[in-house]
C-alpha cells in the first residue's frame, strides 16, 4: 500500500492559510473562550462573604454592641444598617436589602449577667440554600464561642476542652476559583475545539471544494490529519493563554508540573478535535454540525463533575459522565494544578483520553466516504 497519509502536507498548507486568513474563525476560537473563562471564573464563586446584615438592637449596651461586632468581624457579614422595629427587619429581608437580620431583644445583657440563657434572634433569607447554610453556620459558631467564653469565666477554667485543629490541604484558603477555574478551562477548550473542526469539512461540502478534494489522490487519513493539525496548534496556544489567565487573573497556583499539564492538554484536545471531525463527516450543513456539537457539549457541563460531584449522581448520569473526555480531563487538571499530582499517578486518565482520541480519529477516517451522496 502507498502512503496512507497521501496529500497530508497539501491539506496542512492550505488549512493553515485558510485558518489564519479567516478572521472570524480566529475570533471565535480565541475571544469567546477568554470571555467564558473570565465570566465563569468570576461568576462561579461559592465563597460566602460580605452578606448584607441589618441589626435591630433593642438592648443598646456594651455587650449587645460587642456581639454585633463579632458577627461583622467574621467577614461573612457586612453591616448594612440598623432598623427600628421587627417589622422593618422583615421588610428589609423581603425586599432583598439584606440576607440576614440580627435581632437583639431588650434585656439581653440582663439575662446574660443573671446567668440565664440570653437569646439572640437571627433571621436568614433561605431562598438560596447555600448562602443560608453558610450564614447559619457562622451565626452558630459565633454564639457557641461566646457561650463557651462565658462558661469558662464562670468555672474559672482557662482552656477550651476540645478544639478542632483543621488542616486543609491543597487549597488552604478554600477559594472557589481554585476549584472551578481548572474545570472551566476544560469546558471552554471543549467548546472552541469541537466547533472548530465540526465546521471544517461541512464548510467544504457546502462550498463544493470537497468534490474537488475527492477527485484527487488525497487519502482519507491525510485529509483528516491535515484538517486536525492546525487546530491542534491553535488549541494548545489557546490553552497556554487560559492557564496564564488562571494563574495571573484568578491567582490559582499551579502545584504540579506545567509540562504534565501540556501533555494532558494535547491528548484532550486531540480527542475533541477528532470528535468535531466525526461530526463534520456526518453533518450535511453548518446548522446540523452546530446542533450535533451542542448535543455533546451540554452533558459535559452537568455530568463531568465540573460543578456537581459525580459520586452523588444516579448511576445513569454517572455512566454518561464516564463517556465524556471532559470528565477525565477536569479530574486530571484538578489533580495536577491543585494537588501537584503527576501523570504517572493519573495514568488511567491519560490512557483513557489517548484511547478516546485514537478511536474517534480512526472512526472518522474509516467511516468517511470517498463518495458523495
Amino acid at each position: 500500500m502507498k502512503n496512507i497519509f497521501r496529500g497530508y502536507s497539501a491539506i496542512l498548507y492550505k488549512e493553515f492559510l485558510v485558518v489564519l486568513r479567516d478572521p472570524l474563525t480566529l475570533f471565535f476560537m480565541f475571544v469567546p473562550p477568554v470571555i467564558q473563562l473570565i465570566a465563569f471564573g468570576f461568576a462561579l464563586d461559592t465563597d460566602v462573604k460580605n452578606l448584607s446584615l441589618v441589626v435591630l438592637d433593642q438592648d443598646r449596651t456594651v455587650e449587645s454592641r460587642q456581639i454585633i461586632e463579632r458577627f461583622v468581624n467574621t467577614g461573612t457579614f457586612k453591616l448594612k444598617g440598623e432598623v427600628g422595629s421587627p417589622d422593618e427587619l422583615s421588610r428589609a429581608i423581603r425586599e432583598g436589602k439584606a440576607y440576614v437580620g440580627l435581632d437583639i431583644p431588650p434585656g439581653f445583657t440582663r439575662e446574660l449577667h443573671a446567668g440565664r440563657t440570653a437569646r439572640v434572634e437571627v433571621v436568614i433569607d433561605g431562598s438560596n440554600s447555600t448562602i443560608a447554610a453558610s450564614a447559619l453556620n457562622t451565626a452558630i459558631g459565633i454564639t457557641f464561642r461566646e457561650s463557651i467564653l462565658q462558661l469558662l469565666a464562670v468555672t474559672g477554667g482557662r482552656d477550651v476542652p476540645v478544639e478542632v485543629r483543621p488542616q486543609i490541604l491543597y487549597n488552604p484558603a478554600m477559594r472557589s476559583p481554585n476549584f472551578f477555574v481548572p474545570g472551566v478551562i476544560g469546558l471552554v477548550l471543549q467548546i472552541a475545539t469541537v466547533f472548530a473542526t465540526a465546521m471544517s469539512l461541512v464548510r467544504e461540502r457546502e462550498r463544493g471544494t470537497l468534490e474537488q478534494l475527492l477527485v484527487s489522490p488525497l487519502s482519507r487519513w491525510g485529509l483528516m490529519l491535515g484538517k486536525l493539525t492546525p487546530y491542534l496548534f491553535i488549541s494548545v496556544t489557546m490553552a497556554v493563554g487560559l492557564f496564564a489567565a488562571m494563574r495571573w487573573i484568578f491567582h490559582v497556583p499551579i502545584a504540579g508540573s506545567v509540562s504534565a499539564l501540556m501533555v494532558a492538554v494535547v491528548f484532550y484536545v486531540f480527542a475533541l478535535l477528532s470528535l468535531g471531525l466525526l461530526i463534520s463527516t456526518r453533518a450535511q450543513n453548518q446548522m446540523q454540525a452546530l446542533q450535533m456539537s451542542m448535543l455533546f457539549i451540554l452533558p459535559s457541563v452537568f455530568f463531568s463533575g465540573f460543578i456537581f460531584p459525580r459520586e452523588t449522581m444516579p448511576w445513569i448520569f454517572y455512566a454518561v459522565g464516564a463517556c465524556l473526555p471532559a470528565t477525565y480531563f477536569i479530574e486530571l487538571m484538578r489533580a495536577i494544578i491543585l494537588r501537584g499530582a503527576t501523570l504517572a499517578e493519573f495514568w488511567l486518565n491519560v490512557v483513557v483520553l489517548a484511547g478516546m482520541g485514537l478511536a474517534l480519529f480512526s472512526l472518522c477516517a474509516i467511516q468517511f466516504k470517498r463518495k458523495i451522496a
Binding site: K2, R6, G7, S9, A10, I11, Y13, K14, L17, V18, R21, D22, R207, G208, T209, E211, Q212, L213, L214, V215, S216, P217, L218, R370, K371, I372, A373
Partner: protein, 317 residues
C-alpha cells in the same frame, strides 16, 4: 481514421431510491475529442460526470477511462482525470498563486516540477496580473480560469468540465473555448456539459440526455442528417421579414407548415416540400407583411434536439 477510445461507458445506471437519475447510458469518446454533453437541468448530466470521476458509484453498468475501470482502479483514474465542478470550487481565502500551489501539492507535485507546471499554466491562462489576489476578489471569468488552471496542474489526459460557462460574460466564454480547442489539439480529451447550443456546435461530438436516457450521440454534422430531423418530403426555410410575430401566427395556421419558430428578426420553418414559396409570400402579404426574404437552410443542433425530444415524449408537444 479510427482514434483510440478514451472514455467508454456501458449501460451506466444510477438510482437514488426509486428515482433513476441515469438510465443505461452507453458512450464512446475518442482521445482528443471535445465531447459536448447536453440536456435540461436534472436530466442526469452531472450524475454521469460524477460517476466517471469516481465521486459516485454506478448502480449498474461500467465505465472505463483510458482503459481503467472507474470503480476498481480509482487510483489510476485519479491521476488521469481533472475535474472542474459547476461552482469553480476554489479556496476564497487563498490567493491565485496559493490555490495553484495547493492543487499542485495535492497531486504530489513538488519543487522544480511544481514551479515549472505553475508557470506554464499561468502563461496559458494569462492570470499573471492577479497572482497575489485572493480568489474571492476575482470576477467570474477569472475564477473560472483559475479553477481550470487548478484542475490542470497534474497534467490530466481527460478534463471534465461541468457547465464551465454558466454565468460568465461572452468574452470570457469565447476565450475559454479557445483554450479548450488548444488543449484538444494537444491530445487532451474534454468532456463538457453545457446549455448553450452555440457551444454544442463547436464540439467534435455531442450527446444529448433527456429524462435520464441518452437520446443521441455523435458528430454534430452527422446528427443533422438523421431522418428524424429531416422528415421525408420536407424542407427547412429561413424567412426574414418585418412584423415577425404577426408573420409567425400566419405561418402556423398555413396548411403545409409543420413547425415555425422565431429567431430574432427571422423565422425558421419546417414545411412540406410541395408548398410553393409563392404561397408563403401571398399569405404574408395578405396579413400586411409585404417584404419577405426566403432562403433554404439546414437543421441546427437545436432542431436536432427538439426533434428527438418530441419523439421521445411520444410525439406530442
Amino acid at each position: 481514421m479510427p482514434a483510440e477510445t478514451m472514455i467508454e461507458c456501458e449501460n451506466l445506471t444510477r438510482r437514488f431510491g426509486h428515482f433513476t437519475a441515469v438510465d443505461h447510458v452507453s458512450l464512446k469518446i475518442a482521445k482528443g475529442s471535445i465531447f459536448g454533453f447536453l440536456g435540461p437541468n436534472g436530466s442526469g448530466k452531472s450524475t454521469v460526470i460524477r460517476m466517471l470521476c469516481g465521486l459516485l458509484e454506478p448502480t449498474e453498468g461500467s465505465a472505463r477511462i483510458g482503459g481503467f475501470d472507474v470503480v476498481k482502479q480509482t487510483d489510476e483514474i485519479k491521476s488521469l482525470i481533472g475535474y472542474m465542478s459547476q461552482k469553480f470550487s476554489l479556496y476564497d481565502e487563498l490567493t491565485v498563486h496559493e490555490n495553484l500551489q495547493f492543487y499542485g501539492r495535492l497531486y504530489g507535485l513538488r519543487g522544480e516540477v511544481l514551479t515549472k507546471r505553475r508557470e506554464e499554466l499561468i502563461a496559458l491562462t494569462h492570470i499573471e496580473p492577479y497572482l497575489n489576489r485572493r480568489a474571492s476578489l476575482l470576477s467570474g471569468g477569472w475564477r473560472q480560469r483559475l479553477a481550470m488552471a487548478c484542475s490542470l496542474m497534474h497534467h490530466p489526459n481527460v478534463l471534465f468540465l461541468d457547465e464551465p460557462t454558466a454565468g460568465i460574460d461572452p468574452v470570457a466564454r469565447r476565450e475559454l473555448w479557445d483554450l479548450l480547442f488548444e488543449f484538444s489539439s494537444r491530445g487532451m480529451t474534454l468532456f463538457v456539459t453545457t446549455h448553450y447550443m452555440d457551444e454544442a456546435e463547436r464540439c467534435t461530438h455531442v450527446g444529448y440526455i433527456h429524462m435520464s436516457k441518452l437520446v443521441v450521440c455523435g458528430a454534430p454534422d452527422d446528427l443533422k442528417t438523421l431522418p428524424i430531423v429531416n422528415p421525408p418530403g420536407t424542407k427547412r426555410l429561413d424567412i426574414t421579414c418585418d412584423h415577425v410575430t404577426t408573420a409567425l401566427q400566419v405561418m402556423r395556421h398555413l396548411a403545409g407548415v409543420r413547425a415555425a419558430t422565431v429567431f430574432g428578426q427571422s423565422m425558421h420553418l419546417l414545411v412540406e416540400e410541395q408548398l410553393p414559396e409563392q404561397r408563403i409570400r401571398e399569405e404574408l402579404a395578405r396579413a400586411g407583411v409585404p417584404r419577405v426574404d426566403i432562403h433554404p437552410m439546414g437543421p441546427s443542433l437545436e432542431d436536432v434536439f427538439v426533434a428527438l425530444t418530441t419523439q421521445n415524449n411520444g410525439g406530442g408537444k
